[in-house]
């Protein structure tokens, strides 16, 4: 099997990135998953259940909306892929629906997850409620504070939310705690990772489960523009799952420019940033060799972004490869620019985006797209969870 952008090697490598750098305690679980995930995903019974849930529970296909006023402003044709209209308000549920079905087939009864913005935690708690499974979500203490509504949503859905108190008390630390939980509960537990990160096969598994986004885009673009292929696909990157899903079916289409947008926080070189593709060097985080923000001793540095979902010191190994090979173009957007993009979309199109998503929208002015170009922005989530932040920064937004 020759590796492509879509398909890592058998050991999970995209170029030099990927692999499974895990302690022995995790080996049996990760190996079981590696041996079975492709067969399970290809199984007609699995596909039938998965597709039915995507349609009747998640609400797919999500619309591709031509944003006329935004298009006018940027003098290009902008389409929004409305992942914010998925049940639970973000793309994250595409992955959790698939993984919960997989967990059941593996005979697991207890589910753990990490969450940053809380969207993946909510999406996991949701499918656990649906399937009647126990659910424990790890969330950084700082993130529990800044994404409070999602903490309450998870609890209402029956999940237990456990605060991660170490390090910067954000997404990285929540992921550490989830991995430690899995080490302590190797038999009955499945870990539903929320992005295209972690040891192989997770990056490929999550990318495949999110690839429905670009599968739908192609059909919808054909209908609306006469061509399946746009000139640009733009998505924000925390770990990179919504971007992986939006890019997936365009990866091998060289005419489509893929634009990945990272969080620059207070500025790329301010010391308060999460722009991993610029600041990172190859290293190992959460079982994967990827681009990683670290000091010269190989200690992982604490990232920063106002957006809890982008506040992560690594990126998925697929994205590290896309950055390294030049297949995708990486842009970073500061907190302030993202906040302005929240107001812009709200006022021009009547859609309040998530703060993560706003980073992708803020990149519209930097693409150099022409009036005849078709630009698809993956609208990964809605802004309800960020309302408190938007109120706090009302002065800079409005």
């Amino acid at each position: 099997m020759t590796p492509t952008y879509q398909q890592p090697t058998e050991r999970g490598y995209y170029g030099q990135f990927g692999g499974a750098f895990i302690p022995e305690m995790l080996y049996p679980n990760v190996e079981e998953l590696r041996q079975q995930y492709l067969d399970i995903l290809a199984d007609p019974g699995f596909q039938q259940e998965y597709q039915l849930l995507l349609r009747d529970y998640v609400g797919r296909p999500t619309p591709l909306f031509e944003a006329k006023r935004l298009s006018e402003k940027y003098n290009t044709r902008v389409f929004l892929k409305r992942e914010d209209l998925c049940h639970t308000g973000a793309h994250k549920v595409n992955n959790t629906v698939g993984q919960i079905l997989l967990a059941r087939r593996l005979g697991k009864t207890r589910i753990i997850a990490e969450t940053g913005a809380g969207q993946h935690g909510v999406a996991t708690a949701t499918v656990c409620a649906l399937m009647g499974m126990q659910c424990i979500v790890y969330m950084g203490e700082i993130d529990m504070e800044r994404q409070k509504p999602n903490v309450y949503r998870m609890r209402l859905l029956g999940a237990e939310v456990r605060a991660a108190m170490s390090g910067s008390r954000t997404l990285k630390d929540a992921t550490n705690e989830a991995i430690r939980d899995w080490i302590s509960n190797p038999v009955d537990t499945h870990y539903i990772i929320g992005s295209v990160v972690g040891p192989h096969p997770y990056p490929d598994l999550v990318a495949r489960l999110q690839s429905v986004i670009s599968e739908e885009m192609r059909k919808q673009l054909l209908e609306k523009t006469g061509s399946e292929l746009p000139q640009y696909v733009v998505a924000c990157v925390g770990g990179g799952s919504n971007a992986a899903g939006a890019f997936y079916h365009f990866l091998e289409e060289p005419t489509v420019q893929l634009v990945a947008v990272e969080a620059a926080g207070h500025g790329i070189h301010s010391g308060h940033s999460a722009a991993t593709s610029v600041l990172g060097k190859p290293g190992i985080i959460h079982g994967s060799r990827t681009l990683l923000m670290q000091d010269e001793d190989g200690q992982i540095t604490e990232p920063y972004s106002l957006s809890a979902g982008l506040d992560y010191p690594g990126i998925g190994p697929l994205h590290a490869f896309l950055a390294d090979s030049g297949r995708a173009h990486f842009i970073s957007i500061e907190d302030e620019e993202a906040l302005r993009a929240v107001a812009e979309l709200s006022r021009l199109e009547g859609i309040i985006p998530a703060l993560e998503t706003a980073h992708a929208l803020a990149a519209l002015g930097q693409l150099g797209a022409g009036p005849d170009d078709v630009v698809v922005v993956n609208l990964s989530g809605r802004g309800d969870k960020d309302l408190e932040t938007y109120i706090k920064y009302a002065d800079s937004i409005m």
Binding site: R11, G19, A20, F21, I22, P23, E24, M25, Y27, P28, N29, S166, G167, K172, N176, I179, R180, I183, S184, N185, P186, V187, K281, G283, I284, I285, H286, G287, L292, Q294, E296, D297, G298, Q299, I300
Partner: protein, 259 residues
């Protein structure tokens, strides 16, 4: 020279292996603690190379790692501190334990060369996969006479245990049960014993040390019924918390286990 083998030849059972984090409680405690442990009768010593995100470690070693990093510990400093250690601690095997990323950034070959130069005998990197070790690092480990130690857990399949045994020329690190370091065993009565006995019955080439959750004389002695010895980490780190005289605390701790 194989200090690890010599230690097991000399003592065959009840071997005590003590782990501590380099640069904890203060930066320059590394060597005094090492000397005190050896003098008090520890049979092997693991020096933890602190890492910002130690996935296999519980809260105690996480905390000691954070403090050590704040104190300024890194591999360069550690090798500087350990230079000449073999004049003071000639025989006790020293193993370096940590995570792969700091070693990769230091350079694996540089790391092996420096480790060998200060007289380290073995290396434990829990997140270095077996296949990657064989494919990429075995030759350089062997060139510098550094012996890797791999972990075995209750879930490790028999064929994999055999393979680990084949690749090992030191000892096997038997993780006592599911959990991170310092965690108390939550297993039902008898489950742990069955696991230890299952491994014992495999008649492996290498001696075994049981680690994770061993913390006092009673748990040490119990572990020693099923293996050549045991490893204590978190409980020792806890014994160093807030003390004025770390070497004295180290001597007292070893005495409390072996007396």
């Amino acid at each position: 020279m194989n200090r690890i083998k010599d230690a097991f030849d000399k003592k065959q059972k009840n071997l005590l292996n003590v782990y501590f984090t380099a640069g904890y409680p203060s930066l320059h405690d590394t060597v005094p603690i090492l000397q005190a442990l050896s003098a008090a009768g520890a049979d092997l010593i693991e020096i933890g190379m602190p890492f910002s995100d130690p996935l296999a470690d519980g809260p105690v070693i996480q905390q000691s790692s954070t403090v050590a990093l704040q104190n300024g510990m890194n591999l360069r400093v550690l090798f500087g501190q350990l230079a000449g250690i073999r004049e003071q601690v000639p025989d006790t095997p020293i193993l370096l334990m940590g995570y792969l990323n700091p070693v990769l950034q230091f350079g694996v070959e540089n790391f092996c060369r420096e480790a060998a130069a200060v007289g380290a005998d073995g290396v434990i990197l829990p997140d270095l996969p077996l296949d990657d070790y064989v494919a990429e690092y075995q030759p350089v480990f062997q060139q510098y006479n550094l012996r890797p130690v791999f972990l075995i857990t209750p879930q490790t399949a028999p064929a994999r245990i055999r393979r680990i045994d084949e690749l090992t020329d030191s000892f096997l690190y038997l993780v006592s049960g599911p959990g991170t370091t310092g965690g108390a065993s939550t297993q039902a009565e008898g489950v742990q014993e069955a696991y230890f006995q299952r491994i014992e019955a495999m008649q492996l080439r290498n001696p075994r040390l049981i680690g994770f959750g061993i913390g006092d004389k009673a748990s040490f002695q119990k572990a020693c019924q099923y293996a050549e010895g045991a490893i204590i980490g978190s409980a020792f780190i806890r014994a160093l918390e807030g003390v004025d005289d770390a070497p004295a605390a180290a001597s007292r701790f070893v005495a409390s286990i072996l007396s």
